[in-house]
Symmetry: C2
Subunit: 178 residues, 2 copies
């Protein structure tokens, strides 16, 4: 019996495990069981998760990086949680904001309920909601921040105009290839 | 302006780029543009992508690894493409097969239209459709194969019973923790 042991991923998982612990206790195990045991048919899970059903959402971070580089488009990554009221509130205004939805088309879009292993995506820690931009040169735009000094990449619903102008900022690419 | 350059991912992306080239030419760039430019509202993209809308599908490989280890459940990974007729045909019988859909609940489920950077997921190359199992000990079950010697992890619609028995095989874990 041939087995390919993916020991490198054991390490990754160990790291994720440590990082994702409190996230998990809130969310993971419980939800999994609950959803599987539901007997009524339910709506299929979407990639948009309500952040804009008419937009194209990318499934994975790696794919987003590839598409950003390839298509010379910045990435917008939204970290959120389904059962976090702050995330839900931001999502509502984000999804209903026509200009934002329109401008979002210019981005490679990713929303994640699970942290990646890339520490560059948590310049000041892991929290939700957290919105980060990545330039097509694959540089995290740590300079594009919200208004809270303790959580630089957090936005409240009342900050939606700031988020809009930050999206404009992110569209001005750091390096433009001709 | 503070920038965190994610150079390690440049390498990853370079690798993915080389590996994903023919995949891309079929799929990526073109589809992206097309979807964004559609004017009619369309159904939101789903995580199931039609492989079983009532099942819980995991978004990313890292999350799947974490959940497998944590929940002591094997992973079932389906690599496929939306515009590949073989993938579509297998998907149809998979989604309509009641016993398979039922048994699938026992797995951490992932369907991917984009290759990961983990070479253990392509023991005999990258092709679609390709179905792999991973034990909760995070060992790729390279021993669980279909009937084609040139593409060990490919299944035709007529192989659906073999896929079903392979799922049963994968549920017999390599190591059971007490």
């Amino acid at each position: 019996m041939e087995k390919s042991c993916i020991s490198v991923f054991l390490l990754l998982v160990a790291v994720s495990y440590a990082l994702a612990k409190d996230f998990t206790s809130k969310n993971d195990g419980k939800r999994d069981t609950k959803e599987v045991k539901e007997t009524k048919p339910r709506l299929p899970q979407t990639l948009s998760r309500g952040w804009g059903d008419n937009l194209v959402w990318i499934q994975t971070y790696e794919e987003a990086l590839f598409r950003a580089k390839n298509g010379n488009k910045p990435i917008m990554i939204i970290h959120h949680l389904e059962d976090c009221p702050h995330s839900q509130a931001l999502k509502k205004v984000f999804a209903e904001h026509k200009e934002i939805q329109k401008m979002a088309e210019k981005f490679v879009l990713l929303n994640l309920v699970y942290e990646t292993t890339d520490k560059n995506l948590s310049p000041d820690g892991q929290y939700v909601p957290r919105v980060l931009f990545i330039d097509p040169s694959l540089t995290v735009r740590a300079d594009i921040t919200g208004r809270y000094s303790n959580r630089l990449y957090a936005y409240e619903p009342s900050d939606i105009s700031l988020l809009y102008s930050n999206m404009q900022k992110a569209l001005k690419l750091l390096k433009t290839e001709l």
